[in-house]
Amino acid sequence: MAVNLEAGWREASIAGTIFEAGNSIEYITGTWRTLRPVYDAEACTHCMICWVYCPDSTILVENSKVIGFDYDHCKGCGICAVECPVKVKAHAYTGQPGKVIQMVEETSFE
């Protein structure tokens, strides 16, 4: 049951108590982001270090492979980019030398 965002004070749950487990996924926190992590899929070794370190569980994994980021919930903290152990000479997206995961200004995306 999704939270009714239009609920008046009489309908709202008392003291904001949440009676549904795991509903934080409904809360979009990706809009807080000013820097977006972008990874180089070709160079990625799928070591899962970023998956371990991400504090918001936003590293998307399928069949033991990193397939991207949950940008609805990634707050752009940059921990993945710092912890990423794999270096590239030229990142597939940014063209810059550095890590497989690099942080890009959010405003540069449409």
Partner: protein
């Protein structure tokens, strides 16, 4: 009338006795003068196996209230007790208890706040928390402290709001008086069983308490708190009446003594009402039309009821045992005065004149002569309709 026993108890022991009879699921408390006798006596009851309570000896009052909040969200009947700096240290979580609508009951043995260091009575501790969202009941003597704590359980659980029950440090807390103690079964029957609607320990129905709450809902949740407090006065009266039917000691939201045809009134909380009542009785015998008005409930402030009760009074002298520093150009009247003035103004009363008398800070005695002085001032105010000194200080050395 149910079985009861007359005992010689001070206010702190009377409250400890009430707590033994309430037999809460959890008590988390830290000892602090002059509340110590409550916690010490109650922990003896725990050690002696006289209660089933899980007693948590915490490292601070902040931890005491935090533990109470956890235990209360888990569905327990929960109590603590504190005073002065202890209540001040609790500050953050005092608000949380009210905001989460948790029916925690907390006896407070009023004591001054530092600095300088002082262990004696004034009301600056509990008055400091008057905006925290708790219900506040003030007790004149050990009997009222005992009765109020028992009623507080019912009031809290009915309204889902926490309740503080005040008594004056040392004066009431350590002053032995005659207390009619109900038998255990009567108290048990009166408070009944607490059945929480939700519980943190109900693993089949998981819930998150006190979660993230932004500008999209926080405002609505604050309005829910004001709504709960708006419903409090009728509930307090109903519980007080039921308690009266059971024990012969009926409780309302205030006590009026000699107020029927009074042209002047003295308004005062807690133990000092005893001193004021004696002076009023003496003046009444001389034909002076003066009465005593003793609020029992300060939160929620019974504005309509008080304004109505004082509507025909010409001059009111409020005795305040704490200062709202900075209020009224810095004159520092007390909270009782400010709330009462607001209540009279909101009721459209432009005839009742009110003067404030700050007294008894840090345990300074209030003696009958001070109250007589107030009565003399009130006679002049009633006659002239003028309040020359809005805020004065009783018993202060000039």
């Amino acid at each position: 009338m149910p079985k009861s026993k007359i005992r010689a108890l001070d206010g702190a022991h009377a409250v400890a006795e009430a707590m033994r009879q309430i037999n809460p699921d959890v008590v988390a408390a830290y000892p602090i003068t002059p509340q110590t006798a409550i916690v010490q006596t109650f922990s003896n009851f725990v050690a002696d196996g006289l209660v089933d309570t899980e007693f948590v000896a915490v490292e601070s009052e902040h931890a005491a209230m935090s533990t109470c909040i956890g235990a209360s969200t888990a569905g327990g009947r929960v109590m603590t007790a504190t005073a002065s700096a202890g209540l001040a240290l609790m500050w953050e979580v005092v608000y949380v208890a009210a905001s989460l609508h948790l029916p925690i009951v907390m006896p407070v043995v009023n004591r001054a706040l530092s600095a300088p260091l002082n262990i004696h009575c004034d009301h600056s501790d509990s008055m400091g928390t008057r905006d925290a969202g708790w219900i506040q009941l003030y007790s004149e003597n050990p009997q009222e402290a005992y009765d109020n704590v028992i009623q507080a359980v019912r009031i809290a659980e009915r309204l889902l709001l926490p309740v503080m029950v005040m008594q004056d440090g040392f004066i009431t807390g350590h002053g032995v008086e005659r207390v009619d103690v109900l038998d255990d079964g009567t108290v048990k029957g009166f408070i009944g069983e607490y059945k929480p609607e939700h519980s943190l320990l109900d693993v089949d129905n998981p819930a998150t308490y006190g979660a993230w709450d932004m500008y999209d809902f926080y405002f609505e949740h604050k309005r829910q708190q004001t709504d709960a407090l708006c419903k409090a006065l009728p509930a307090i009266v109903e519980v007080g009446e039921e308690y009266g039917e059971l024990t012969g000691r009926k409780y309302g939201i205030f006590e009026a003594y000699g107020m029927d045809d009074a042209e002047m009134a003295i308004v005062v909380l807690s133990s000092s009402a005893g001193t004021a009542r004696m002076v009023v009785r003496g003046l009444r015998e001389k034909g002076v039309k003066i009465g005593l008005f003793k609020p029992r409930v300060f939160r929620p402030f019974p504005a309509k009821e008080f304004a109505e009760a004082l509507a025909d009074v010409k001059a009111v002298g409020v005795l305040d045992r704490s200062i709202v520093f900075g209020a009224m150009d810095g004159l520092g009247p007390g909270p009782l005065y400010l709330e009462l003035c607001a209540a009279l103004f909101a009721a459209g009363n432009t005839t009742t004149r009110v003067a404030d008398y700050v007294f008894g800070l840090g345990g300074r005695d209030i003696i009958p002569a001070y109250v007589e002085q107030v009565a003399q001032d009130l006679a002049e105010i009633a006659e002239t309709g003028e309040v020359k000194t809005p805020v004065s200080y009783l018993g202060l050395r000039e």
